[in-house]
């Protein structure tokens, strides 16, 4: 089985996982043992996801155009969904909040399913992408994005819990959600910073300018500024709860625009 086929099965695997867990959640109130089953199922899915990325890497070498599978929109989407799944697993393990995963895995599914719409073939690297900085840049950026994605999910749940007491009873405690919103950004922000720096180093190497205000660069800075604002508001101004949750949602919108929206504007990042 090739990696493209495997990715298709994976997308459906995540979908089944969501449907299964939703049904369990609605039908059975007591869900401790089943929760354990879904926890293991998610880990298996994620391991297969890892295998799929490795497989694509191997396949690219078999084609004689070997490179890390982080070089175009298709590959970045697969990697992005992989890192969001990883972040969800980490948060589930750390905070015991299966609901964050239940709301987060649909994001993983949507990202992975969106690859059905684009060309999945393995292409050779064009000259601009032939750099080791590519791997470091894409890797750090998307790991950072996955932190922001988890923060976004927790922020939505927190805003929901704040809006109705009925919902609040079903959701994890507000204090825990608030903690997830903050901690995920605390991890994502340094990774985004590293992503921007490696990107700048690469641009300096390839084009002789570490910063040229191209739309993608500018939007990554906007994202960085929003999350920097979040951290300062939280750490020094004592903001928490609803207000920081809102900032987290705004920040993730900026992430999404940086990733997808900017592609329609001309710039140096036209291959992603």
């Amino acid at each position: 089985m090739g990696n493209i086929e495997l990715n298709t099965y994976l997308a459906f695997g995540y979908l089944l996982w969501i449907i299964g867990y939703l049904i369990t959640f609605v039908v059975i109130r007591e869900r401790t043992s089943l929760s354990r089953f879904f926890w293991l199922a998610l880990i298996v899915l994620w391991i297969l996801h890892t295998v799929s990325i490795g497989l694509r890497w191997v396949e690219s070498y078999q084609l004689g155009i070997g490179h890390a599978p982080l070089s175009n929109l298709y590959e970045s989407l697969v990697f992005f969904s992989w890192s969001v799944a990883l972040a969800l697993i980490v948060v589930w393990r750390r905070f015991g909040t299966d609901l964050v995963a239940l709301l987060g895995v649909p994001i993983v599914f949507l990202i992975l399913a969106s690859t059905f719409l684009i060309d999945p073939s393995i292409r050779p690297l064009i000259p601009a992408l032939q750099s080791n900085w590519l791997v470091a840049h894409v890797f750090t950026c998307f790991l950072g994005y996955s932190g922001f994605a988890v923060s976004f999910v927790a922020a939505l749940l927190l805003l929901l819990a704040k809006s109705s007491d009925k919902a609040a009873n079903l959701l994890p405690r507000k204090a825990i959600l608030d903690e997830i919103v903050y901690r995920s950004i605390m991890i994502g922000f340094p990774l985004l910073t590293l992503g921007i720096i490696t990107g700048a180093a690469w641009a300096e190497h390839a084009w002789g300018t570490y910063w040229s205000w191209d739309p993608k660069e500018t939007w990554s800075l906007v994202t960085w500024l929003v999350y920097a604002g979040f951290l300062h508001a939280r750490l020094s101004r004592g903001w928490s709860g609803g207000r920081t949750a809102l900032l987290s949602v705004i920040g993730f919108c900026a992430v999404m625009f940086t990733y997808f929206g900017v592609n329609y504007l001309p710039g140096l990042h036209s291959y992603f």
Binding site: P127, I197, G208, G229
Partner: protein
């Protein structure tokens, strides 16, 4: 903001203004405001087309846009006065916050016990050395080092701290950002960026500045020996390579290849592969087949006049059309027969029919293009400063994420009835966990009785 209560208006007013200015530059509220303001400005810079000249906006017939462009440089947001002001204010604000925080950080570094995040009170009837030893050894297990001890009559004080280096994270991150901003300023004032197009075999020491288009000179001459374009079998470009030499006073000082992601640097000036263009033809390849069936191929340069084998005629290339027609690349040939008048004929690479001249079939097999390579020329003395700032930033993040400052202090006050023990601790991260650990360890000591 506090207003001075004094009735003497003159000096106190100025004092209060100074106070407000100081408060503005040392407040995190300002930082948050500036971060969002800069984000907003940056978004404007991606929505409004940048780099349009004022003249073009003027003739576009939108006077409002023209006025905005004139006053706020919205056609050039990232170089506008207000964006620079915002960045400068941010720099000053970060400096202000640093100066406010540094004494506190220094204090925290020097002293082992400052403010604590939790305090536990115990009483013990023991007043002996045994209790001291026990408490000290428990503290040592938690903190993993021996304490600083200060003793006075009836009072003993043990204190520990761990990973003080955590305290450097905050200043490193913020100084790092200032250093990056300074580095970018150095680049903006003393650096330059330019572009030059050089055909294969040519040389120059002139280039045009970006974006002003002014002509400048490099302290060396750039000689381009060749440009190669390599493609993958799929047709995508694989490699753009310019083989160049740099010469000074007629002598070659450096030679090498410039590829994308592989610049050539000499005397701080870097040359980057940027683009290329076909500017002419190096040679043309034609095949000839006579009526008798003998075929031959000829490679010749475009200015050459050659004999057509087997026909009593000559040909010469007039022009090349690099592939705008469906038939692919084409050339225009001038056929010079001995008897006829010269004839103009176009021939394309993908032609189905071959060209027939006096019974000789001619096909256009291909040509070797003459390239000009586009090199970007960059000089930026601020780059090292920027990388220094980035390193500080990354190192600061590593400290903040992977280290944690923890402090623990135990104070014993002896009296005739027994000993009062006060244990206080502080952890910059994982506070709850640290507190639980400390409580767990000390509550397990049977000689201690917890007080509220």
């Amino acid at each position: 903001m506090k207003k001075s209560k004094s009735t003497e208006t003159g000096s106190s007013e100025s004092v209060s203004i100074l106070f407000e200015i100081k408060a503005f530059f040392t407040s995190v509220r300002t930082t948050v405001f500036l971060l969002f303001a800069i984000a907003f400005g940056a978004i404007l810079g991606t929505i409004i087309p940048q780099g349009e000249t004022l003249d073009r906006i003027a003739i576009s017939g939108n006077p409002f846009l023209y006025r905005l462009a004139l006053i706020f440089d919205i056609n050039n947001v990232f170089r506008s006065w207000w964006f620079t002001v915002l960045l400068t204010l941010l720099t000053l604000n970060i400096l202000g916050c640093l100066f406010r925080r540094l004494p506190l950080i220094f204090q925290d570094w020097r002293s082992r016990d400052t403010k604590s995040s939790f305090t536990l009170h115990f009483r013990s009837i023991l007043g002996s050395q045994e209790l001291k030893d026990k408490l000290m050894s428990v503290g040592q297990t938690i903190m993993g080092s021996s304490p600083k001890v200060s003793e006075a009559p009836d009072q003993t004080h043990y204190s520990w701290d761990r990973q003080k280096i955590y305290l450097l994270g905050f200043p490193l991150i913020h100084v790092g950002i200032i250093v990056i901003l300074l580095g970018s300023m150095v680049g903006a004032y003393w650096g330059f960026k330019g572009h030059v197009m050089i055909a294969e075999g040519d040389s120059t020491n002139k280039f045009s500045l970006i974006p002003s288009n002014e002509t400048r000179k490099t302290p060396f001459t750039i000689i381009v020996d060749s440009f190669k374009l390599v493609k993958y079998p799929t047709g995508e470009p694989k490699e753009f390579r310019s083989d160049v030499r740099l010469s000074q006073n007629g002598k070659d000082v450096v030679s090498g290849s410039i590829l994308v992601n592989h610049p050539l640097t000499y005397e701080g000036i870097s040359l980057f592969q940027s683009d290329y263009r076909v500017v002419g033809i190096k040679n043309i390849k034609l095949s000839f087949k006579t009526k008798e069936g003998s075929s031959s191929e000829k490679v010749f340069d475009p200015h050459q006049e050659i004999d057509i084998p087997g026909a009593d005629a000559k040909l010469k290339t007039l022009s090349l059309d690099p592939g705008t027609m469906a038939q692919g690349t084409g050339i225009q040939l001038n056929i010079i027969g001995n008897t006829d008048k010269p004839k103009l004929i176009s021939i394309y690479q993908k032609d189905q029919k071959t060209l027939d001249i006096n019974g000789v079939q001619i096909r256009f097999l291909g040509f070797t293009p003459l390239y000009a390579t586009g090199l970007q020329i960059g000089y930026d003395p601020g780059v090292r400063v920027v990388w220094l700032g980035c390193s500080m930033l990354v190192f600061g993040f590593i400290l903040t994420l992977f280290t944690n400052l923890q402090k623990l202090s135990i104070e014993l006050n002896s009296s005739k009835t027994g000993t009062n023990v006060t244990i206080s601790g502080r952890s910059r991260k994982l506070r709850k966990e640290f507190r639980q650990k400390v409580e767990g360890e000390f509550l397990g000591i049977s000689e201690l009785e917890k007080q509220n």
